[in-house]
Amino acid sequence: MQTRIQEHRKAKNVTQNELADAVNVTRQTIISLENGRYNASLILAHKIAQFFGVSIEEIFIFDKEEENI
């Protein structure tokens, strides 16, 4: 799944470490989310969206074709 975490992070001038600390995950998880290698759980997605003050849909791009829907 593609995400806009990096865009939002850079816009807010937040480092990967700071975001990881805020949502209680490791920095490696943030890197994997930004690269699209790992899909966040609903709880983590909610925490990240809350951190940036936006909706989940604005951060996580749901591709229907990719998910075979």
């Binding site: 209680n24 995950v25 490791t26 998880t29 994997s32 790992y38 966040a40 759980s41 983590l44």
Partner: protein, 159 residues
């Protein structure tokens, strides 16, 4: 190896301290099991006069010593984590991070598959020379599948 047996839902260091303390108790239990194993081996050899093979005596004493040393080292390691807030936080993240836990679950699945294949292969080949081995390995596979089914039913009711 990060996620092996360390899954936790602690959301802060204070909650995680309780997890570490209970983990230290498990380490003490491992230490005690090691002592019992070593004691049984030594008593069997010197006091009970059981006719124990030299090789098996070595296995029991090695296993006992390994459990004692392993338990003690892990107990000290957890104590050091408990006293250092930064290490505690890092350790907590490694045991609560959902990605690490998913990696761990996937690794478990692969390891379980390899274990079952290995048990079957050892039973098949070893059974030609030691028929009792087939029975033991079949019992282990059945015990594993039974434990899986029971655990599945329990978690099915919880979710």
């Amino acid at each position: 190896m990060i996620g092996l047996f360390c899954e936790s839902k602690a959301s802060n260091n204070e909650e995680y301290k309780k997890v570490i303390k209970s983990r230290m108790n498990v380490m003490l239990l491992i230490f005690a099991i090691g002592c019992v194993t070593l004691a049984v081996a030594l008593l069997a050899e010197f006091l009970w006069t059981v006719n124990i093979k030299e090789q098996m005596l070595g296995v029991y004493t090695g296993l006992g010593t390994g459990l004692i040393v392993g338990g003690a080292i892990l107990w000290v390691r957890n104590l050091r984590i408990l006293k250092d807030e930064e290490k505690l936080k890092q350790n907590r993240l490694n045991c609560t991070d959902e990605r690490i836990l998913e990696i761990s679950n996937k690794a478990y699945r692969v390891a379980t598959f390899v274990l079952l294949i290995s048990l079957y292969a050892v039973g098949l080949i070893g059974g030609l020379f030691y028929p009792a081995l087939v029975k033991v390995l079949l019992f282990l596979v059945c015990a594993f599948l039974l434990a899986y089914m029971i655990a599945y039913r329990i978690y099915e009711k919880q979710m």
